[in-house]
């Protein structure tokens, strides 16, 4: 996607209006609270953007014999936090379906890091997200969304169950609470800074 040689005339350093945009991804299994977290943190009404994807890249035998759908639409929820004039932080909820890994690749490009939401009732749902960020060396934190009526787990139990590296922060949160979401992002950025 991005060209190898960076065009300085359009890079942030040479920005005519000094604006910088950063992004953080919010991942996790279906129903883990991604959209809720994005909505709780966003200063604008959470938005939804659609990417129309051509399936032409798929192997030919996939579409043989059937009038197959040629394009598919992936919806992404996202929000924005204005950190100071000229510094915007975008939060992108990753599309949940496994077949959209290639969208994740694009989203992950240049991301500051990721929040992986975990639901202790279905902890295995977040394994693919953890693998994805681990493999690409993208800093992430695990946020255990404490749904009402679920048993409280100690962060260390979750860490063990997910077989995380010792440095990865595991936090308990309520995805609906803005303060919790803010704390998650602070921990993530500090974690990303410490890895440098």
């Amino acid at each position: 996607m991005a060209s190898v040689h960076s065009d300085l005339s359009v890079s942030a350093a040479a920005s005519p209006w000094g604006a910088v945009a950063l992004k953080i991804l919010v991942a996790g299994g279906f129903g883990a609270g991604k959209t809720t977290l994005v909505g709780a943190l966003s200063e604008i009404r959470p938005l939804r953007t659609e990417e129309q994807l051509s399936e032409l890249g798929r192997p030919l035998d996939d579409t043989s014999g059937v009038e197959a759908k040629r394009t598919t639409t992936v919806a992404m929820d996202f929000g924005r936090i204005d950190l100071r004039p000229g510094l915007a932080l975008y939060l992108f909820g990753t599309p949940g379906q496994d077949r959209f890994w290639f969208v994740w690749d694009e989203l992950a490009q240049g991301a500051l890091g990721a929040v992986v939401l975990a639901d202790t009732r279905r902890l295995s749902d977040c394994f693919p997200s953890v693998d994805f960020f681990e493999q690409r060396g993208i800093p992430f934190v695990i946020a255990v969304n404490c749904f009402e009526g679920t048993e409280a787990y100690a962060p260390d139990d979750v860490r063990e169950a997910l077989d995380l590296d010792p440095g990865v922060p595991v936090l308990l949160c309520d995805a609906r609470r803005r303060e919790d979401g803010r704390e998650l992002l602070i921990q993530l950025v500090e974690h990303a800074a410490a890895r440098r």
């Binding site: 960076s6 240049g110 803005r178 950025v189």
Partner: protein, 154 residues
């Protein structure tokens, strides 16, 4: 089901059903047709982009690339032939820079279409674009501190 039965059933059915349909009768809600936006775009997406699927300069329009309309008072009369979607995009990013993702959301157009249209605007020098900071240069320590301070102040 036997073969004779199905033939008997099938033949008179369409004729019997026809007179019952009054084209001017109000339809029950479940049969209601789609109107306006619900029916999908009137103009097909590929005609908005004149069949193009990629912008001239691929990679310029990341989801968080920031777009701002160039002040037109400086170069009057320079506007080339554009569609309503081009104008809508320009109007949105006239006062403040917006990301490609936001432009897609506000115009209700897929990001891939927005990218092609922005490519036209960029070529006509009607917008300026700020690409996100490349990963290799990120995170700059001062920038990260700004982010943390900004989050604490929320």
């Amino acid at each position: 089901m036997s073969e004779s039965m199905s033939i008997e059933d099938a033949a008179p059915e369409p004729l019997a059903a026809l007179p019952a349909t009054d084209p001017f009768e109000l339809r029950p809600p479940e049969e209601d047709r789609w109107f306006d936006a619900e029916a999908g775009p009137l103009v097909r997406l590929f005609s908005m982009t004149r069949g193009r699927v990629r912008p001239v300069e691929d990679g310029l329009f990341d989801l968080i690339s920031l777009i701002r309309a160039v002040d037109q008072t400086e170069r009057p009369g320079a506007e080339p032939a554009m569609g309503p979607e081009h104008h809508a995009l320009l109007a949105l990013c006239r006062d403040e820079p917006l990301s490609v993702a936001e432009l897609g959301s506000y115009t209700d157009l897929p990001v891939s279409v927005v990218r092609v249209l922005l490519g036209d605007l960029h070529e006509a020098e009607l917008i300026s674009v700020v690409r996100p900071v490349p990963l290799a240069q990120l995170p700059d320590e001062r920038l990260l501190r700004d982010v943390i301070n900004g989050l604490r102040a929320l």
